[in-house]
């Protein structure tokens, strides 16, 4: 827990994350690895593309940042380094997935988020950036968080 920062985790958030991490270590979601670090507030998660999908044998990294009021508030989840080519993943790593924003519920966990993201990857039929990628990424140049974007969720399939 980064106690020096004024926006550190609340006691409740830290307790909950300890629990989640413990549960993760005992029962990690298939295809994911938590990179060990002493920072509870930022998790780096390795994602391995599922077999028999477009992303088979590919490795990506998710960065999960928890707000002070987690789990009331959703964590910020983005891909770092080279984000996968996917119609709902922007080249700056932002992911258009409703449960990360409007549809977040405190009953969700990092593990359930990871499973949703992997299922989103697995159901993709083409490796392509979103059509509005350039416009969006330009708009986010100043390190804007995807949580500040007003997302429009329309696609139930991919």
């Amino acid at each position: 827990m980064s106690s020096s920062s004024p926006k550190g985790l609340s006691r409740i958030a830290a307790n909950r994350l300890h629990k989640e991490l413990k549960e993760w270590q005992m029962n990690p979601p298939a295809g994911f690895k938590h990179k060990v670090s002493d920072n509870l507030q930022r998790w780096i998660v390795e994602v391995n593309g599922a077999p028999n999908t477009l992303y088979e044998n590919e490795t990506y990294y998710l960065q999960v940042d928890f707000p002070e009021n987690y789990p009331m508030e959703a964590p910020q989840v983005i891909f770092t380094h080279n984000p996968p080519l996917h119609p709902h993943i922007y080249s700056n790593g932002h992911i258009c997935l409703d449960i990360l924003y409007d549809s977040w519920s405190p009953a969700m966990t990092v593990s359930s988020i990871c499973i949703s993201i992997l299922s989103m990857l697995s159901s993709s039929t083409e490796k392509a950036r979103p059509v509005d990628n350039d416009r969006y990424v330009r708009n986010c140049r100043n390190g804007k968080s995807p949580k500040e974007t007003r997302w429009w969720f329309h696609d139930d399939k991919v």
Binding site: H88, D98, I99, S105, Y136, T149, W151, D155
Partner: protein, 376 residues
């Protein structure tokens, strides 16, 4: 014929024992639905499991035991339901050739009472749901999802704040109406904010909240945020004090002596801005100087605040109605978002729409225009 008569008597007995919980689909051969609720002396809030037992016999009853099924189970793990059912089937074959309808129902009620515990963990804190007393755990009536009352309340307050509603103000409003009926109060509250179960997103029923109603407004002392202590806030002396300052505030307002921070204003030196205690070191020295006198010549307009930083002493705020702005509500361009709430908890500014029901959805983005009309 004798058998049929005896069997019909059995059905009548079941009807008289279970009353409205017993639905007779057919008297002979007997086909019944019996609603199973744990025996908790009708305290619905303490029932964490529920099921409907279907008993369907054929014309060879009671030589041949009836078919038994559990339907509409709530709060009951599959393994537990299977166990209840196999026990009941054993009992039915033991009792073959004897009247058994009521005996089966009684056994089922015993089992379900025995298993009347919330299953698993609280979804908020991932800690096990262990009953310490009647109030530690609450259940949503429509879906039977259970939570620690404390966790649920914290979340509910958060939801209310996110929608710009202040719990203390709401409570005062409801109290003034002398509304003693908590269910009616919950209904009123739910009219203003739709809240769904965090697990299954089913709409929350007023009766669900009635069991935690009292607790909603009490400070549990564990929040990191500033939560006003309900006992202090609702005490007689505090209400009198608030009323007194409200009157004074109104007088000052009428005389034009009050300059209220408007939503598009910039914070200027000397302006009274309360900062959460954790960030007190960052706050300016002007904080402590909120003066309480009424200036003779003052008729400052709101726009003056933006440019006249030197006239800081003219900015007055009634202590009863401080416009407290949490530091986190000031957006990065230095402007203050709409300051709607008046309580100690400045509502968090949230832009989200109503939660989507059903599965996850993905798509494109549209630009979020923060604070529409900020820069015309």
């Amino acid at each position: 014929m004798m058998v049929e008569e005896e069997t019909e008597q059995e059905v009548d007995a079941a009807i008289s024992v279970y009353g409205a919980d017993c639905t007779v689909i057919c008297r002979f051969p007997p086909h019944l639905l019996v609603r199973l609720q744990p025996r908790t002396a009708n305290d619905v809030s303490q029932q964490f499991v529920e099921a409907v037992l279907m008993i369907q016999a054929n014309s060879k009853y009671p030589e041949e035991p009836p078919m038994l099924e559990l339907k509409d189970t709530k709060g009951l793990e599959d393994a537990k339901a299977t166990r209840i059912l196999s026990d009941l089937r054993d009992l039915a074959s033991d009792l073959a050739s004897n009247p058994m309808l009521v005996a089966i129902c009684e056994k089922a009620l015993d089992s379900i009472t025995e298993m009347n515990q919330p299953d698993g963990n609280c979804c908020f804190c991932i800690e096990p749901l262990v009953m310490e007393n009647k109030f530690t755990i609450m259940k949503l009536i429509s879906c039977f999802h259970c939570f620690h009352s404390e966790c649920f309340i914290r979340w509910w307050r958060w939801m209310l704040q996110g929608r710009g509603l202040d719990v203390s103000d709401l409570f005062l409003a409801l109290q003034l109406e002398e509304d003693k009926d908590s269910v009616a109060s919950c209904e009123k509250l739910l009219e203003q904010t739709e809240v769904n179960c965090p697990v299954c997103r089913k709409a929350i029923h007023p009766h669900d909240l009635a069991s935690v109603w009292g607790a909603l407004f009490v400070d549990n002392g564990q929040e990191d945020e500033i939560v006003p202590d309900a006992e202090v806030i609702f005490s007689k002396s505090e209400r009198e004090r608030k009323a007194k300052f409200d009157t004074l505030f109104k007088v000052q307002q009428d005389r034009g002596g009050i300059v209220e921070p408007k939503k598009l204003e910039v914070i200027v030196p000397g302006m009274f801005v309360s900062v959460p205690s954790t960030r007190a070191t960052e706050s300016g020295s002007g904080l402590a100087t909120a003066s309480f006198e009424l200036p003779e010549s003052s008729s400052l307009s709101a726009s003056a605040v933006e440019c006249e930083s030197s006239q800081q002493d003219n900015i007055l705020l009634s202590q009863g109605r401080q416009h407290v702005l949490g530091a986190e509500t000031i957006s990065d361009n230095g402007r203050i978002p709409k300051s709607g709430g008046r309580g100690l908890n400045q509502p968090r500014v949230r832009y989200g729409r109503q939660v989507n029901r059903g599965g996850t959805r993905r798509g494109n983005w549209v630009r979020r225009d923060r604070g529409t009309g900020l820069n015309e």
